[in-house]
């Protein structure tokens, strides 16, 4: 099988001095070319899972294996082909998109020539080429989201982690981002995505995992899950499985 996939086995995480596990014995696979959604209430452990998968933090127990074209690869190699788009605007707003892409591109081991070429391409696709030399702190929220995405994509990753990529943006920006991501997936990029917008996720994802209190409560394709739980939409299924109580207090 071509592309990048991830195998998660019995994965647990407990932060130092924490009373409970943030993740408990999670096991599932993310197949290559998937658009894989990870959903759950606030504090469910979604960001912890993505952080472990991206190599930001270590797991306490269990394993997470990376495969490229069915061959197992190490984390360092995985980092070269993986992209990460955090929920925060994790870039330098006092600089321009080009200056940010030059900086982060270099850290993905790209040459100056590659950075220049990829920057032009990605900024054009995301509708930012006209403002490529403007300081980002003058941009709207939607434009900043697209810059955030562009940075995670500068090295044309084969697997992309997106943490709430459309939060706080207008409909136009949201559609542009999702359209771009779908196109990217068609070209073979595996996408791992978290969101609170269930209707958006329903249209966007192939497979999903529902996590609550660090535990996997359901994982399959959307169609299979809706049919298995006899629900009409993902939001109702989500409420059904996780309950209506607040989870962030």
């Amino acid at each position: 099988m071509s592309g990048v996939s991830i195998q998660i086995k019995e994965l647990s995480k407990r932060y130092k001095s924490a009373e409970f596990n943030s993740l408990t014995k999670l096991s599932f696979d993310i197949n290559s070319n998937d658009i894989f959604g990870i959903f759950g209430p606030n504090g469910a452990g979604k960001t912890t899972l993505i952080s472990i998968a991206c190599g930001v933090i270590d797991a306490s127990e269990g394993s997470l294996s990376y495969y490229m074209d069915s061959n197992k690869i190490e984390l360092n190699k995985f980092k070269e082909i993986a992209g990460y788009v955090p929920q925060e605007y994790a870039f330098y707003q006092e600089l321009t998109p080009i200056q940010n892409l030059e900086y982060f591109g270099a850290f993905y081991n790209l040459t100056q020539k590659e950075i220049k070429k990829n920057t032009q391409e990605i900024l054009t696709k995301l509708g930012l080429i006209k403002v490529a030399n403007h300081k980002i702190n003058t941009f709207s929220g939607g434009m900043k989201r697209r810059v955030n995405l562009a940075i995670g994509m500068i090295h044309k990753p084969q697997i992309l982690f997106l943490d709430e990529p459309t939060v706080g943006v207008d409909v136009q920006s949201k559609n542009a981002i999702l359209k771009f991501l779908k196109e990217l997936n068609k070209q073979g990029t595996t996408i791992i995505y978290t969101s609170h917008m269930m209707s958006e996720a329903e249209q966007f994802c192939n497979n999903i995992a529902l996590i609550d209190q660090g535990k996997l409560i359901a994982q399959d394709s959307i169609e299979n899950l809706l049919s298995a739980y006899k629900q009409n939409d993902l939001e109702t299924l989500f409420i059904n499985l996780t309950g209506e109580e607040y989870r962030d207090v």
């Binding site: 360092n76 925060e88 605007y89 994790a90 330098y92 006092e94 200056q99 030059e102 900086y103």
Partner: protein, 426 residues
């Protein structure tokens, strides 16, 4: 290497976009060094150039007051104004009104009392020798003779006392001369007093003033030699606002985490920050020292004289800069918010500066503050500059300074390493 240069480029771009940081690092110290040097210059001139304004009010009509005034003039210590119309009640008012620092009031019986005292002592001496005893001599001890010395309250106590001692010594020499004249007169050999006076003068012990420097430098601590290095050190450490704040911002906005997901070593980011801000610190030194060397003479301030031991000078500059950079990165790594980094960073530097002798030299501080000042890294840097600028010091003299600053840098980097490790950034 490409990563490193791109990282340096990013730091440079961030720096030139940080207008407030640039103002604080370059313009603020320039203003401070100019203003404080001008303000302190007159105070240093009083101490170093020893020309103190002195108002003499002479109510005496005798010869001894004239003799005393001539000696005071000859000492070269004073800018003298003589105004005999002032009375003892108004002298303080005149002193303050005319902006004169000191005044001495010679009463109308000054010559008479001086001559009488000399005569009494000479009679006593001759009596002890069994040579003569004047029938008019009264051997009862005389009450001490007092002359009033007035001074501006801003004049430091120890300096006033030095001036009083000097005036006392001049009056004593007139008195001694009178005493010799009186003894010779009693012995009937008045014509020989001039010869004796000449012998006494030629035998006078001369005390040479030699500064304890290693290169026979005659440089004196003046406002420039103190303020230029002092405010440069302050400016270097004040980069905590720009660098510390910048690190917190990157940590909070997720840039550091994003970098962690990339196939690179985070230490590269730290090295590029250190490199850029070391250059900033060196530019601060170049700018502020250039002002001291080239601009100050044009505005009638003492010119900054650089030390001759250039290698040691560069070492102290580099160590001070590295101490400032490491402190700023440490604050940036430990602080939870940008406000915390800016607030704590600025306040801690101001406290370090205050106790470290940046604002006022250590020697004017009370003893316990002089002990406390040893805990300020700004004081170690300043001491290093003092050793080089004023004492012509060598590596041996700089040993403790180099050790202290290196220790400080090591501690800062250890904290940075521990904190970044704790945050899983490295």
């Amino acid at each position: 290497m490409f990563k490193f240069w791109m990282s340096i480029k990013k730091e440079y771009l961030q720096l030139i976009n940080d207008k407030v940081g640039l103002l604080l690092m370059f313009l603020m110290p320039l203003f401070l060094v100019l203003i404080i040097t001008i303000v302190q210059n007159s105070a240093y001139q009083i101490v170093n150039e020893n020309k103190v304004s002195l108002l003499i009010v002479n109510k005496d009509k005798g010869a001894q007051s004239v003799r005393t005034i001539k000696l005071i003039e000859k000492s070269g210590m004073f800018d003298i104004t003589i105004d005999n119309s002032v009375d003892s009640i108004n002298i303080k008012r005149v002193l303050l009104k005319q902006d004169i620092l000191t005044a001495i009031f010679l009463p109308n019986n000054f010559s008479e009392i001086l001559e009488q005292r000399a005569k009494n002592i000479s009679q006593e001496m001759l009596s002890d020798f069994g040579i003569a005893k004047d029938s008019s001599f009264n051997n009862k001890p005389k009450s001490s003779f007092q002359i009033n010395f007035y001074h501006d309250p801003v004049l430091q106590d120890n300096y006033s006392i030095s001036l009083i001692n000097m005036l006392n010594s001049l009056i004593s020499s007139v008195e001694n001369s009178l005493m010799i004249e009186s003894v010779y007169s009693e012995l009937g050999i008045e014509q020989k007093t001039a010869r004796l006076r000449n012998i006494a003068l030629s035998n006078k012990i001369t005390i040479n003033k030699i500064a304890a420097s290693n290169n026979n430098s005659n440089l004196q601590p003046n406002s420039t030699q103190h303020n230029v290095p002092a405010w440069t050190i302050f400016a270097m450490f004040f980069m905590v606002i720009s660098l510390g704040g910048n690190i917190v911002k990157e940590r909070i906005n997720g840039s550091f985490v994003r970098l962690k997901t990339m196939p690179t070593n985070f230490l590269l980011v730290l090295y590029s920050k250190m490199f850029v801000f070391l250059i900033v610190a060196l530019l601060q030194v170049a700018l502020i020292f250039s002002v001291g060397i080239f601009l100050f003479p044009y505005i009638h301030l003492p010119q900054l004289i650089l030390p001759t031991n250039f290698l040691s000078f560069i070492s102290v500059v580099l160590l001070s800069a590295l101490a400032a950079v490491s402190y700023a990165i440490m604050i940036g790594s430990v602080a939870k918010t940008q406000e915390q980094a800016n607030g704590f960073g600025a306040v801690s530097i101001i406290i370090f500066a205050a106790i470290g002798g940046i604002w006022v030299p250590i020697f004017v501080m009370p003893e316990y503050m002089q002990i406390i000042s040893n805990f300020s890294p700004l004081q170690w840097s300043l001491k290093g500059f003092y050793i080089l600028f004023l004492k012509g010091g060598n590596w041996n003299d700089l040993y403790t300074i180099i050790l202290s600053l290196s220790g400080f840098i090591f501690i800062n980097f250890s904290i940075i390493y521990y904190k970044l490790k704790l945050d899983k950034i490295i």
